[in-house]
């Protein structure tokens, strides 16, 4: 069944020709396309939608605008979904959440009777005695906390992002927003109009603005038509501007897309939140805001009750009374907390509709049906003072109570922009002040409520924005004035049996707020933190105003002084998937990647790159590494070093720049020669190293570590922003692909593929040359560097990336007759360790200075300056505490599980004196070798130190002179 609906023109959003079936808590219901879950349920008489956070009280719609947590329901893989904002769709399965058993018969509802055992902050004073008991209680409490259930198998689906730029962005397409949009667009600027509802019009779509209820529809049609057809206006409906970030940077969420919008001018016309009256049982299903009843009828053609009582703090409620009466709801009484209506004509109209108006009175308590499932009557009392009522009252039966205590401006975006809320005691309302210059407010968010004033305010703010855009307004900015009084000053009525809810999300009553202040939490921020007021899903939309009033009253301060807690982004809860968008997961493959894969390489991440660790199956790791190392030491082998950072410096000051950045001297570096380059930071800590190649007087090509190059490059550009030397700095890492061709036969391989004279005399160690590599398909321009990282005769060959694969192929072909073997990073690590070369970041930490690393030789002490030179001088002259040394252990320890691993600690007595940074079994030496920091008194060659290895065992290592292999460096220099 679809339930009985009201006749058109009620039901603006629903399509009666398109019924939709869905289920809630396993029962099947029908609604119409355009219905929200909540409207469809109420249309079927199903009021109960959720259980409250703490007491598990039955809850139903409060605002019908997604501004409360009362309608949070669970979809299959979507917890905490707002039923009053989520459309029904065919076969949608909806469940309640946060209950034990069933939503209807929630066993936890028993907690409602134990409220007195759980005063505010009770958990700070219980559950911890005797010591240790909290561990048990915590588990139990955690299960009761939380709302919905996460589907652990849920996937995000496709979400994306789009950038937009507009002259004027208007948030809220109510009368103020529409008026502003037309004014701005008519002046020729681009306008984006954002509204969270399916149709534009704002309050014009559901509210009454005149007793007869005829004005709104006509005006809405007229303005909508103009706006929707205006070429300068883009309208985004069902879209939420979810935050304000600096300089009008606005995240607008529509469906699965996040629009990132930059607005030159932003006009917020987002309206105001109708406020509840705080009285006992004000949370019963059937108690709602006046605007919620208006929305149910006008938008969804759902009659919210049969017999209504209206609780008014302003004239708006009178209009709701008229709307209800018109739709056949018997309005039993209109209870006005004020002495009289502001507009006498309105009171007359209500009286003419045979509605009994009772002024100076309030609802003191809503009386429930069994199990608190719905309201059945109200206890109406005369107001005798602030928050005080007469002892006796009148019981009026009803199944609907519509209330309006006043309005709170939609302040969130504005406060995120640094605006302030100041309380106007006269009008009992918060006003927004201290706006950013390019941010404007119009309509009810600005405290303007009468329709003509709202339209004028929209126009005025658009004219103001135009002026700031440099478009002189064609007409004078109208002065806007609104005398309408919307807020009743103290709509808070304490009841001895409490349950007068201030915060529905967190089940907080008057006494909870007052008691928090009473025991010392006076600041509104402390009240929030102690009581959790405003911390729930609706983030204080309704609790902020009564809390400010209660705290002010209890601490004898003004409401302005008390204030509200900070509004932070986002405005509405936003799905993580929407903000995350498409995961940007950059990773890099070298130009030779596919060749490695074909050869069966085990790939590992190195920074954002993928590199071969070794070639072969993971389970044969050690054998593969030993085989590759053997090839390098005895024949010839090749490794892809494309990921190595490359930075090119060109310009007359290139040498001067190098000289200031790196520790060595570079002014006299000869063209065609390479030089080791160490980089220190201002603290004198070694942060990177590489090889500097000088290809011309004004051209250096310097390598950097794979993971360090981006920060090296950033640092270089930062320094040169200060130095302003005549040098261009480019990070050319991905412009080059490179291999290191290493091993005794490497010269023979190189000879075959280049015409350059590569003899020891013509191309000695540490030389670099530009030359062509010959392939069948033509020559490849290349940079050749004679280097010695792995300790054998070797050449790095750098070519433009597009030739990377061709380079690999030609090297492999040329090397075939010599048995060339590809080798990976792990093998390279072993080989360089045999040579005692450090890897910056593996063998260094955040404190390693050149002295500790025995890199004193790589520092030029004669030049006037390099980055970190002052610190290097200080630390190297101070008493040394530790040193990176080489060490050796017997090979057989690895079979006993006693081989030290990188990260194990070095001991001196009971103290930790250092740590192991590199450790491998060296097949060439048949020993375990490594690098590690030891205490300075442990660092002499030949001395022994203890390493604590896995399982808490200790082994004795011997400090060994570096390098371990080929001490005279004959092999790399041959």
């Amino acid at each position: 069944m679809t339930g009985e609906r009201l006749n058109a023109p009620m039901g603006l959003l629903i399509n009666r020709d398109q019924p939709v079936s869905f289920s809630f808590e396993g029962r099947h219901y029908r609604g119409y396309a355009g219905d929200s879950i909540a409207s469809a349920l109420i249309g079927n008489g199903q009021w109960l939608m959720s259980r409250s956070f703490k007491y598990h009280r039955p809850r139903s719609v409060l605002t019908m605008a997604g501004q409360d947590a009362n309608t949070l329901v669970q979809l299959a893989s979507d917890p905490n979904v707002l039923a009053d904002r989520t459309p029904v769709s065919e076969a949608l399965r909806v469940e309640g959440q946060n209950y034990a058993g069933s939503l209807e018969g929630d066993r936890d509802a028993l907690l409602n009777h134990f409220g007195r055992f759980m005063p505010v902050g009770f958990y700070y004073r219980a559950f911890y005695k005797p010591k240790g008991i909290w561990d048990w209680w915590e588990k139990a409490i955690r299960k009761k906390a939380g709302l919905g259930v996460v589907d652990l198998n849920a996937t995000a689906g496709y979400h994306d992002k789009e950038f937009l730029h507009y002259d004027v962005v208007i948030i809220g397409a109510g009368p103020a927003g529409l008026s502003a949009a037309l004014t701005a667009a008519d002046a020729g600027v681009s306008v984006l109009l954002v509204d969270e509802n399916p149709v534009i019009g704002g309050a014009l779509t559901y509210s009454r603005f005149d007793p007869a209820g005829v004005h709104a529809d006509g005006l809405r049609n007229e303005l909508s038509e103009k706006v929707l057809n205006h070429t300068n206006i883009r309208v985004m409906t069902e879209a939420t501007c979810n935050a304000w970030f600096t300089d009008n940077w606005l995240p607008v969420i529509q469906g699965k897309r996040l629009y990132k919008v930059r607005a030159k001018e932003c006009i917020v016309a987002a309206g105001a939140y109708e406020q509840h009256v705080v009285f006992r049982n004000n949370d019963l299903p059937g108690v709602m805001m006046c605007s919620a009843a208006d929305r149910l009828m006008k938008l969804y053609a759902v009659r919210p009750g049969k017999k209504a009582v209206i609780l008014a703090g302003n004239d708006e409620a009178y209009l709701t009374a008229l709307a209800l009466a018109e739709q056949g709801v018997h309005v039993a009484a209109l209870i006005d907390m004020r002495d009289k209506a502001q507009d006498p004509a309105l009171a007359d109209a209500v009286a003419e509709a045979c509605i009994n108006i009772k002024t100076g009175m309030t609802v003191y308590e809503a009386l429930p049906q069994a199990g608190n499932k719905h309201i059945r009557a109200v206890d109406v009392r005369a107001i005798t003072g602030q928050g005080k009522v007469a002892d006796q009252g009148e019981i009026i039966d009803c199944d609907l109570l519509c209330m309006s205590a006043g309005f709170m401006p939609a302040y969130q975006l504005l406060c995120q922009a640094g605006a302030r809320l100041s309380y106007d005691d006269e009008r009992a309302r918060f006003e927004i002040t201290d706006l950013q210059p390019h941010l404007h407010i119009a309509g009810s968010v600005n405290g303007v409520y009468t329709l003509n004033a709202v339209l004028a305010d929209g126009k005025a703010k658009a004219l103001k924005a135009l002026e700031l855009l440099g478009k002189a307004p064609a007409e004078p900015v109208p002065a806007v004035h609104c005398e309408k009084q919307m807020n009743y000053h103290w709509p808070i009525f304490k009841h001895p049996q409490a349950k007068e809810f201030v915060d529905f999300d967190e089940d907080l009553q008057i006494k909870d707020i007052v008691n928090a202040t009473r025991i010392g939490y006076r600041d509104v921020q402390l009240v929030k933190r102690f009581s959790t007021v405003g911390m729930g899903p609706s983030q204080g939309r309704h609790s902020a105003l009564p809390t400010a009033r209660l705290v002010a009253d209890a601490t004898e301060r003004s409401v302005s002084e008390t204030g509200v807690t900070t509004a932070r982004p986002p405005f509405n809860a936003e799905k993580l998937a929407v903000i995350a968008g498409r995961a940007f997961d950059p990773y890099r493959q070298s130009a030779m990647h596919h060749r490695h894969v074909e050869l069966g390489a085990k790939m590992i991440p190195a920074g954002s790159w993928q590199r071969p660790a070794f070639y072969g199956a993971a389970e044969n790791r050690l054998e593969c590494i030993a085989k590759e190392a053997h090839a390098v030491r005895n024949k010839v082998a090749v490794i892809d070093v494309s990921t190595l950072g490359g930075i090119e410096l060109r310009g007359p000051d290139a040498a001067e720049f190098m000289n200031r950045i790196y520790t060595f001297g570079f002014l006299k570096q000869a063209v065609g020669r390479t030089r080791y380059a160490v980089l220190t930071n201002e603290q004198g800590v070694v942060i990177d190293d590489g090889v500097s190649c000088r290809f011309a007087e004004d051209c250096f090509y310097v390598t950097a570590t794979t993971t360090g190059v981006d920060s090296v490059y950033r640092n270089m550009t930062r320094w040169n922003a200060m130095w302003r030397l005549r040098v261009d700095i480019s990070n050319v890492t991905s412009a080059f692909a490179a291999v290191n061709l290493a091993g005794p036969d490497s010269r023979k391989v190189l000879e075959k593929i280049t015409d350059l004279d590569v003899s020891a005399q013509a191309f000695p160690y540490l030389d670099c040359h530009e030359a062509d590599i010959k392939t069948a398909a033509g020559n490849i321009p290349a940079r050749l560097l004679r280097v010695g990282f792995v300790g054998e005769l070797g050449y790095e060959i750098h070519v433009p990336s597009r030739y990377g694969e061709a380079l690999w192929d030609v090297v492999m072909q040329a090397g075939a007759e010599f048995g060339i073997t590809p080798f990976g990073v792990e093998t390279q690590r072993l080989l360089r360790l045999e040579k005692g070369h450090i890897i910056v970041s593996q063998d260094t930490d955040g404190m390693s200075h050149p002295g500790e690393l025995s890199l004193g030789w790589a520092i030029n002490r004669k030049k006037p300056f390099f980055v970190g030179c002052r610190s290097v001088d200080i630390v190297m002259n101070a008493k040394q505490t530790r040193k990176l040394v080489g060490f050796t252990l017997p090979a057989d320890l690895r079979h006993k599980g006693l081989k030290p691993e990188e990260g194990h600690i070095v001991l001196r007595g009971d103290d930790i004196s250092g740590n192991i940074t590199s450790c491998e079994y060296s097949p060439a030496l048949d020993a375990i070798i490594g690098l590690g920091y030891v205490g300075i008194d442990q660092a002499d060659t030949g001395s022994q130190f203890r390493i604590r290895v896995s399982g808490g065992h200790e082994v004795q290592a011997v400090v060994t002179e570096l390098p371990f292999y080929d001490a005279d460096n004959k092999r790399q220099e041959m």
Partner: protein
């Protein structure tokens, strides 16, 4: 039902005395023995231990906002001691031990929750670093292990072991890792301190520091001048600004650090999970909310406004680690202000001004050290300037002598 709750239920009125937790505002005296600037966790903890262990109670805590409203309120309440250096591990381990006793000591539940902290290694260099942290921790009696993928799966079955192109290779499993209700820590200390006679003055902003002949003699505030024998500065986020009032500079650069929280859902995550490579950590609070945090903003700033870019980057990583969280809804985003030192360790002890003691440079590691920091600062004050051994490594002059305590790697995105 615990007895205490029964007691409340049988009481018709709210069962606590007026001002049971915090005193009503009082007038500011013209002189105190000790002025503590900053009413955050550290400041009130210092006052608490001064009163409790040293009988020093003529103490004023001056707070420009409200109690615990700075970084005490904004941090993500991670308690751990799995640092890298001996100095760091000794210091933070002591703090963890003290935390475990606080609820019973205060007679106020700080909801200390020992969840364990799991830090993920996606690269072999991370494994090396984690192994060292494991060994250092164990050496000082901490409960920390380097664990493999299978054990990680068992601890956090919901974790995506293959996020992006960075498979999870290993984890640093710190069983002592915990969380607590951060506000309650400040309140418990404030309650204990004020009940013993210390004065807490909120909405009292220090606008100047009076130094005579190299010695501090008082402070200027928006409520008038106050003379004092000793000043302790404990103003995380504004340390350099206050030090400048006292006439010296601190080697601190100040950055915003953002965090965010989702709507509450039923529990699915017990340990605190952190991935330095993804600059992301995730934990579920006792209320069921998921707290997500990451790295600092890249530019120095004193503003606590949050931004979109960090949120986008952080949430990409959060949903890569826990793909199903893509359907959770973010409720709130905020920022704290962190005073970063170059070695990621605090600055504690003496300052260039006599009788002016420093408790600064708390970057992203301030909350977890609250108890031990309060205790050692109180010792420092009570002894008339003798720096306790535990905090000697954190002295300000280490930046002149380059004897820094480097915790950079042990701090990344784990806080």
């Amino acid at each position: 039902m615990p007895f205490s709750l029964l007691k409340y239920g049988l009481n018709n009125d709210y069962p606590f005395e007026k001002d049971a937790d915090l005193p009503a505002p009082s007038t500011l005296k013209s002189h105190y023995d000790v002025v503590i600037i900053g009413g955050g966790g550290h400041g009130v903890a210092t006052a608490y231990y001064l009163a409790k262990y040293h009988g020093i109670t003529n103490v004023a805590i001056l707070e420009k906002g409200y109690l615990g409203g700075g970084n005490t309120a904004r941090n993500t309440a991670v308690i751990r001691s799995n640092y890298l250096t001996s100095e760091g591990v000794k210091f933070y381990s002591e703090s963890v031990k003290m935390y475990q006793e606080l609820s019973n000591e205060f007679d106020f539940n700080i909801m200390y929750s020992r969840r364990g902290q799991l830090t993920l290694a996606h690269t072999d260099s991370a494994i090396r670093a984690f192994r060292q942290r494991t060994e250092v921790n164990k050496h000082f009696g901490g409960k920390t292990e380097l664990i493999g993928p299978q054990e990680i799966r068992e601890l956090v079955p919901t974790l995506n072991m293959n996020p992006g192109h960075m498979p999870v290779l290993a984890g640093l499993w710190h069983m002592d890792g915990a969380t607590a209700r951060h506000d309650a820590v400040a309140w418990g200390y404030a309650k204990g301190a004020t009940q013993r006679g210390a004065e807490l003055h909120q909405l009292t902003e220090v606008t100047g520091v009076t130094v005579e002949n190299g010695k501090v003699t008082g402070v200027k505030t928006n409520r008038g001048d106050v003379g004092c024998g000793v000043v302790v500065q404990a103003v995380a986020g504004h340390s350099s600004i206050l030090a400048e009032m006292a006439g010296f500079r601190l080697p601190i650069v100040t950055y915003p650090l953002q965090a965010m929280v989702t709507q509450p859902v039923k529990p699915f995550l017990n340990p605190l999970v952190s991935s330095p490579a993804f600059h992301c950590y995730v934990q579920q609070t006792g209320r069921g909310e998921i707290v997500i945090g990451g790295g600092s903003d890249p530019y120095p700033l004193y503003g606590t406004r949050s931004n979109l870019e960090l949120k986008e980057g952080l949430l990409v990583h959060a949903v890569e680690l826990f793909p199903f969280m893509s359907n959770l809804k973010l409720m709130r985003q905020w920022a704290g202000i962190t005073d970063m030192t170059s070695d990621y360790s605090p600055i504690m002890g003496l300052s260039p001004v006599d009788n002016y003691y420093l408790d600064a440079g708390w970057g992203t590691w301030g909350f977890k050290s609250t108890p031990i920091c309060g205790k050692t600062m109180a010792e420092l004050v009570a002894s008339g300037g003798k720096v306790p051994e535990l905090i000697q490594p954190f002295s300000l002059d280490r930046f002149d002598t380059f004897r820094q305590v480097n915790e950079m790697g042990a701090t990344a995105a784990s806080h």
